[in-house]
């Protein structure tokens, strides 16, 4: 997708996009022509990061980004988290491919009751905004943050233990006139200490991902090192958690995913039988007897609709026809994807398009990188192979991060966790080309030099939580 962005794209453009259908014939036609697919940007994860916090090395920072390719000039309907989406970061600190600790976000939007317009406007803000609780900030979104145990994740209602609620989401960066004292002054108030040494932030940020999607997209011109994601924003869920809370029983290695869920429910709402509708099939028109009995309710389980861990797994490893299966899958069942890891499509493309000699299938090296972690670095003892972003929390942060992470001699970066500065595209392309010490014969030029020629983000990152840069507004998109 751009990571999952691409998942999104993949889904949309490839097959999904199509919504097909004839023009609907309204009253004259029975055929409703509902769209045939939906990408679901609010529930679509773009990237996941997990790293030992450089300024607080006794903590780990998690960043899960959602809503691909947000443009800054999005008014009047600015992007926001989904009120009916459940967002989670799932942590396996045992290595058995189960979620032993889960952080969960639930959102709730409202119009500010203190706004002078008194609910009579849907304007995002009705005047300058100088604080999170400024009455001029009309559209507000809040969230509760919970933790779930493994047992709690087995219940389809996914109810956890609330750490803190009524936390406010940082608002959209509407523009400099709306934030006369600076947007970041307001956004900073959305960084919360929620207890037990945990910090939380939710809100828009500059998309920290960088890649030449434009060049990749344009078949005729190819790559020329332009960051297609420059100027675009995402919605960020960020947490900073003490390592002591994350550490498992065996070692300091955790596996991380982010998942999102929407409600399923009964197609036909249950009708209260006692209210006595006559559904007598012999009768003429059985509904004509007055009001619908109540109550009717919609309820149902949460269904996982997005899954993201290591960057690019969805593009590099999972073929198109299985992306839906992937997005609904659980790490315990990842052996179903084993053959894709062993026989990656992209390696074939690197061979066909770039003329690279790539290691022969099946690719044991990629099984190590994508499914088990690297022994001696981030592979848990007795690991159950599964796709997770694996981080050894005992590796201290590097004072001089290398964008190629472990490939660049810097153990504190991807694929040992992932930092904002790690060049996921180049690392992944080189790894799939076999340019790692796992397959030394292929760890040679040109395999170990492939890349998209975009080596850093368009904006510098911040030195403190939540690290990601301030979101673009319409003046600097």
């Amino acid at each position: 997708m751009r990571k999952l962005t691409l998942a999104t794209f993949t889904l949309m453009a490839l097959f999904a996009l199509v919504v097909g259908g004839a023009p609907r014939q309204a009253k004259a036609s029975s055929h409703r022509e509902a769209p045939f697919i939906a990408t679901d940007p609010q529930a679509d994860a773009t990237d996941l990061y997990a790293f030992v916090s450089p300024d607080k090395p006794d903590t780990v920072t998690f960043i899960a980004n959602y809503i691909p390719l947000e443009i800054a000039a999005a008014g009047p309907n600015f992007y926001k988290f989904g009120d009916d989406v459940l967002y989670e970061i799932n942590i396996d600190n045992v290595g058995d491919a189960k979620d032993h600790l889960t952080f969960q976000w639930r959102f709730n939007s409202r119009l500010n009751p203190n706004n002078p317009a008194g609910g009579n406007t849907f304007l995002y803000n009705t005047g300058p905004v100088n604080s999170l609780d400024d009455p001029n900030l009309n559209q507000q979104q809040f969230y509760s943050l919970s933790t779930l145990s493994y047992q709690q994740t087995l219940d389809p209602q996914r109810k956890g233990t609330v750490i803190k609620d009524k936390l406010q989401v940082a608002p959209a960066n509407v523009g400099p006139v709306s934030y006369p004292n600076g947007y970041e002054k307001v956004a900073k108030q959305a960084i919360y200490d929620v207890g037990n040494g945990i910090k939380a932030f939710a809100g828009p940020r500059d998309d920290p991902f960088f890649a030449d999607l434009g060049g990749i997209f344009d078949l005729l011109q190819g790559i020329h090192g332009v960051d297609y994601l420059k100027g675009l924003n995402v919605h960020t869920l960020a947490l900073q958690v003490p390592i002591s809370m994350l550490k498992g029983p065996n070692d300091s290695i955790i596996g991380v995913r982010t998942t999102s869920y929407r409600h399923s429910f009964s197609v036909l709402r249950p009708i209260n039988a006692a209210a006595g509708t006559s559904n007598n099939p012999g009768s003429s028109i059985h509904i004509s007897e007055g009001p619908v009995p109540s109550p009717r309710t919609s309820s149902g389980p949460w269904v996982q609709i997005s899954r993201l861990d290591s960057p690019l797994v969805n593009e590099v490893v999972i073929p198109l026809q299985d992306k839906n299966r992937w997005n609904g899958s659980f790490p315990q069942n990842d052996t179903q994807f084993l053959s894709y890891v062993q026989n990656p499509e992209v390696a074939g493309l690197e061979h066909a398009i770039l003329g690279l000699n790539v290691p022969p299938n099946p690719r044991a090296d990629l099984v190590t990188i994508f499914l088990t972690g690297l022994p001696g670095l981030n592979q848990p003892a007795n690991v159950v192979p599964s796709s997770q972003l694996r981080l050894n929390m005992a590796i201290p942060p590097s004072p001089t991060p290398n964008r190629l992470g472990v490939l660049g001699g810097d153990n504190a970066g991807y694929p040992n966790g992932r930092r904002l500065t790690d060049d996921a595209i180049d690392i992944s392309l080189q790894a799939v080309a076999g340019a790692t010490p796992l397959t030394p014969a292929f760890d040679v030029p040109p395999n170990n030099t492939v890349g998209d020629m975009v080596n850093a983000n368009d904006l510098p990152f911040k030195s403190n939580f939540p690290y990601a840069a301030s979101p673009h507004d319409y003046t600097n998109q």
Binding site: P35, I37, A38, P375, D410, T436, P446, V450
Partner: protein
């Protein structure tokens, strides 16, 4: 350990190291893998389609066309362009894209006739052309090839509903939403609930659909129009107007939303404005329904000649659609019946439509056409069938009430007409007054109305 830092470390060595010292992890100061120099990167290419942007504007279509030229054996390229064409029809109403889609899918079929996404797109095209039996068969084939394909579930659901296989449709749809709750499944749940007489539940599900969002603004606009229609069907004229406005906001000049605003204007007695809006909708997308409604408004305004011009357009568009493989027998039959035009052909086409797709909607159309052609007994049978799911739709109830009245079933007639008017007093410019006068003519209900069968 120094060796680790200075040479490229042999992997075997590392494994041995890790095995011996299982839990001794590499300290960060020592590179696990070492790349001394950050070499300049060389360009790489991904599968371009995996990165393509959604959209159906000319540039997007052109890019997809180029991809076919570049990779003439890539089935995905053909399907992607076909899918973009199908979306384009949603946005323009130009049925010529159906023939283009058809041609592309036939080319793709030469590469791999059983590719599940191809089968699904073929099913979508068949449904769009109202060949519901073929659409259903293709959807099932696609589903059999790939049980994880949510589009296939959607095609099967739509096919089953249009073929009158409601129990199966509910099961398919339940599987679809349990598999992936999203715009596609939520909006289909809304339609199922509407058919089953739960418009409030339909509104709830459609709101979920809109919240989940579609890949292109047209989808969101479509969702708001459905919400507007549901609200209008409950007689909530102002609320419906708000939803149509939101649809326009999502996609400027969205024809279905303009038509919705026209319906709202009609309900408020603003007929001139309604006529203008229907004209705008038709200009944007020449659908027969807009011309029909436009003609009805003009007729009400006493502008008979202009009304006839609109009605003539219906026949023209019908021919155009037929030439592009789109069957609108049912819609045309109802139009003829409503306007007392070509009644024998109207009945023949309604019978053909019902035979091809025995749904409650086709039963309703056939019932009304039978009524208009004087076949009351048969009309009564189909009117009952049309409401067998418990649909709370004022127009269908009106049809049933008028037919019951003609059959001398006064109690049912009264109940149905009362229910229709209570649901939506503005359900039809053509018929709402007739419903009232007929109901008045029936007189007050006796103390206890016996239900006939």
């Amino acid at each position: 350990m120094t060796a680790l830092a200075t040479h490229r470390v042999s992997w075997k060595w590392l494994v041995a190291f890790a095995t011996v010292a299982t839990l001794v992890l590499v300290p960060s100061a020592i590179a696990y893998w070492r790349r001394p120099v950050d070499r300049p990167a060389q360009p790489a290419l991904f599968h371009p389609l995996a990165w393509s942007r959604p959209g159906t504007d000319d540039a997007a279509l052109q890019t997809l066309q180029q991809q076919i030229k570049a990779k003439p054996n890539d089935i995905v390229a053909y399907i992607s362009l076909a899918n973009a064409y199908l979306q384009r029809v949603r946005e323009t109403g130009d049925p010529a894209f159906y023939a283009k889609t058809d041609a592309l899918l036939k080319q793709a079929a030469k590469l791999d006739p059983l590719q599940p996404q191809l089968l699904t797109s073929e099913g979508v095209l068949a449904l769009a052309r109202h060949d519901f039996a073929a659409g259903l068969a293709l959807g099932k084939k696609a589903e059999a090839m790939d049980s994880e394909n949510p589009r296939a579930y959607g095609v099967v659901t739509d096919g089953e509903i249009e073929m009158g296989q409601y129990d199966e449709a509910i099961k398919t749809l339940q599987a679809m939403i349990d598999h992936r709750p999203d715009f596609s499944s939520y909006s289909r749940v809304a339609y199922a609930r509407e058919l089953y007489g739960d418009p409030e539940g339909a509104i709830e599900a459609m709101q979920y659909a809109i919240n989940a969002g579609g890949p292109v603004p047209e989808n969101t606009a479509w969702g708001y129009v459905q919400l507007g229609n549901l609200q209008f069907g409950l007689g909530h004229v102002d609320e419906a107007g708000k939803q149509y406005d939101l649809a326009i906001h999502a996609r400027d000049q969205y024809p279905a939303a303009l038509a919705g605003q026209a319906r709202v204007a009609t309900a408020k007695g603003q007929l001139e404005q309604a006529a203008t809006l229907y004209g705008q909708a038709f200009d944007r997308m020449p659908l027969p329904e807009y011309a029909i409604a436009h003609g009805d408004v003009l007729a009400k305004l006493g502008r008979q000649a202009e009304a006839r011009q609109q009605y003539d357009l219906v026949t023209v568009v019908d021919k155009l659609l037929t030439a592009n493989g789109v069957n609108i027998d049912l819609e045309t039959a109802l139009f003829f019946a409503d306007h007392d035009l070509q009644l024998p052909e109207s009945l023949a086409r309604a019978r053909a439509a019902y035979a091809a797709r025995p749904s409650v909607t086709a039963a309703d159309g056939l019932a009304w056409t039978l009524y208009k052609t004087g076949n009351m007994q048969e009309a009564g049978r189909y009117a009952h069938e049309a409401l067998k799911l418990g649909t709370r739709d004022a127009l269908k109830l009106f049809h049933a009430g008028m037919i019951a009245n003609a059959l001398g079933q006064t109690g049912e007639a009264r109940t149905d007409l009362q229910t229709a008017l209570a649901l939506n007093p503005n359900f039809s410019l053509l018929y709402q007054d007739l419903a009232r006068t007929t109901l008045q003519g029936l007189g007050p209900a006796p103390a206890s109305t016996p239900r006939s069968k």
